[in-house]
Symmetry: D2
Subunit: 288 residues, 4 copies
């Protein structure tokens, strides 16, 4: 029987009302589930309810489909946004890169250590510079030449590839192209970007140069979901590092590299563990 122990994670949000935790946990109790982690947030100003429940269950007693059906009923009652994820189904991830290797290198390396519960199914690039690195780690590399003229056609082909690979999540690991609104809207809250500044400061191009010229004493990096509006999507994670007048622009870029690597990795980890709920332009992050 122990072999039939399975794990699932429920994300569930709706307008706040009494009894929500009770009804959800009642459901889990009824089929003999065991809650291992539960995080709840109530936005009292907006009267919204958010919850993440990780639980184990015996798949001999209830199937995945039955589980889904039982939560669907509750979700319909409460007009909830929800998803139920099963631990044995790894998210399929595609990574988009251009020429900078540091984020890609970090992600691939961490994945070899099994830090993320994901399956990387494609590394997609508009340049061939990083093919060597992808090959080193034995992942499939896809090259799409992108010019001003070919961009939309290339995106179309990329979307076909993503679809054929059943990609769940896209990581822009310093991908130096702006995705079209059409592309972005195909993967709502599924495209993770790393921006090399402490957003909303220094949005747009050349953030390190902007930071250098402004003379800030701290630089940052921001990972966020991509929306139609550049650098304005819901923020997942940010971090910073202290700098000084003695740091040249080159130094800022070097120091910032370390931030970018860490911040995008944390965002992927949070996303892969279903710890993020999106609430309009903001995120609820139930970090461990």
């Amino acid at each position: 029987m122990i072999n039939n122990y399975e794990e699932a994670i429920l994300l569930f949000s709706c307008n706040d009302r009494k009894g929500l935790v009770f009804k959800l946990t009642d459901q889990i109790f009824k089929f003999g589930g065991n809650i291992t982690d539960l995080n709840e947030h109530v936005d009292t100003a907006e009267e919204k309810f958010f919850i993440r429940i990780a639980f184990g269950y015996n798949s001999n007693l209830i199937s995945q489909n039955e589980l889904i059906a039982s939560f669907k009923k509750l979700a319909d009652n409460f007009n909830a946004t929800w998803q139920l994820n099963f631990h044995d189904e790894k998210q399929k991830v595609a990574i988009f890169v251009s020429k900078y290797e540091h984020c890609l290198q970090e992600i691939l390396w961490r994945n070899t250590l099994n830090e993320f519960n994901i399956e990387i199914v494609a590394i997609i690039s508009n340049h061939k510079d990083l093919e060597y690195l992808v090959k080193q780690y034995n992942y499939p590399f896809y090259y799409f030449e992108i010019t001003k003229e070919s961009k939309l056609a290339a995106e179309k082909k990329q979307l076909e590839l993503l679809s054929s690979l059943e990609v769940d999540t896209i990581v822009l690991a310093r991908y130096m192209q702006i995705l079209s609104a059409e592309f972005v809207n195909r993967y709502p809250n599924k495209i993770i970007n790393i921006h090399h500044s402490f957003l909303p400061a220094f949005a747009g191009g050349n953030p390190y140069k902007q930071a250098y010229q402004r003379g800030v004493k701290i630089i940052g990096a921001t990972s966020h979901y991509v929306t139609e509006k550049l650098d304005e999507g819901p923020i997942i994670e940010q971090d910073i590092i202290r700098i000084s007048h003695s740091d040249s622009l080159k130094n800022l870029i070097t120091k910032g590299r370390d931030l970018e690597r860490l911040v995008v990795s944390r965002a992927i980890l949070l996303h892969s563990q279903y710890r993020i709920l999106v609430d309009g332009k903001k995120t609820i992050v139930f970090s461990n």
Copy 2:
């Protein structure tokens, strides 16, 4: 009816088993309560369950005593350690100080801004140096002369005072006396100390001097519950600040002061909001 809306916080821990969240939230749902914040932790290694539930309820429908009785039943069933706290009952706090003013000053100042949900009923000292400050803020000041010989007698009188004032929580705000085991055991997990180092590094006396001599690059402060063993109680909160070779011992003390003030304040806040459960030598801190 709105006037009868009350708030309560339940802390509850026991051996882990199925259905605990369900049974607790079921209880709250039954008397029409509304959960506003819920944090749960399962120590899977030790198979222990910890939960904090903040909820609102209508005191016209259920009284405090009825609430307590209903949770007591559950707690008895599960052999749980638990407490139910009502938001309108402020914890009564006594602050012990000696000669350093910075922590006391910070706590009193924050309390005037209503940052803590506490009532400070006594400032107790073995020196008269800080009486002026206590008077400035209009709190009662109690002086106990303490010599090697008078120490136990003084502690006895202090305990009588604390008892007569119905003190719930004691804060040692750089109190330069070591409390006897007998004293400590009267207030288990109710005495908050601030130690001016990153424990367990530099326990005991003169931690800044120890840090200076060791040449560390970071100093810290630690707030913990006091147990019989000096500087070994469960840690509530820690923080650090970067230093360098150019910091003199005097500078370390000055910089450390800012840490001590912040760390002890955060510990008091967490304690006053019933966000801490003690698990043997460790704490579960459900920070917001």
Copy 3:
């Protein structure tokens, strides 16, 4: 003779060229001075040279005026921007406040501990709310009513007061009025402001609300010199604190208060120790 040991701090900047350190230290050596701290920075991109030299000297052997004259000669040769400050001459500081007490309270408290080498000669406010606090610490309080109509007249009177008190440095400790260009230009790089955001993010009004609405995961505070352009002056110091989705706007304000207090205090300390040189829109900060 030991009684005649005096301390001075030289700040000196000019276009970079060979031999600058040698010529400045040669000067100090010649009159028997002893360098206790020396910091140098060369902006290699702009070919500019910045130095801070703290030194002791025997005032029996050379007077302050002679010292000034000797450095003036060097400074003229190199077309340098420079100042020579003597440790026994405390900077005279005026603090401007409105209704928030936390920064003022912190500055006055630190000053009682002699953390700054300054003399606070006036607390100036457009409200009477904080008079009680100023009185508690025994500083002179000046009230200037400011309306849309009276603003320029009030500023004129404030400038007269500052002039009569020989004020060197102005600290805007959450002063809720925008100073006119005329006022600002009377005290170039002498007016220290604290802005309650991580500039350049959330410049302007209500930065905590802006941060809350954007859903950032980190908030900050920035101390900078005031220039004609609002929130765009050279940044002296910044710091940050991590927040989460569970922090209400009220919580952000409370947490931010602690940042503001620390950041403005550090800026005052750096300024009072002559550790800051301004280089266009940026600062060189020779922190210890």
Copy 4:
């Protein structure tokens, strides 16, 4: 002539006395040198003087040997500890590893980005686990089997290898063997270790387990020079990360990995740029 521009870094420490900066910079001025960076520290308690001067010079006008001779004279006069390093001479570095790859991987990767001004001449291990990684980056890998019995003989061979490769600096990148006093004393202040705790807390074995059991709220990593006394050498760099009750021991190890990688990298960078002077059991670190 521009081709003959060379760079050098002087580290110099001695008892404090008047005129030291002047005499050193005079020297540099006399042969037409140009100071690009100067950091000075006076330990006023111990009356010791420490300086780092980076300067450019024209090698047509003065040779490396003449430079060395000229500073030697000064150093002899002041009974100074000193070294003069030339930028075109990269330090030769050997890295010792055992089974954990994260620090090695990080160092090799950063070296491919030319972050350090070093030449890695050997990776030495008592296990073959990481040979694959070393090969991937095309560095020479040396395996030494080490048993209780063979340890001293193995060390002897290692020392011969290091000597034949003219190794300047040794990095213990999670090397799980304790070096003998004899070995350590052959490379005083030349062996950089990374310890996976915030020293002096949790010295010795299994620091993450110790941290987990103690229930600290912050974990750290420490890079230090190795001395005869285990984990007591002069600290170069430390950093920390916040943890909580919800972090399992496994999580601590994963989070700590990121710290170790960063801290050892910063230590190597500081060492390779000659930014560290050792003062007894402490370091002076002139970070940029």
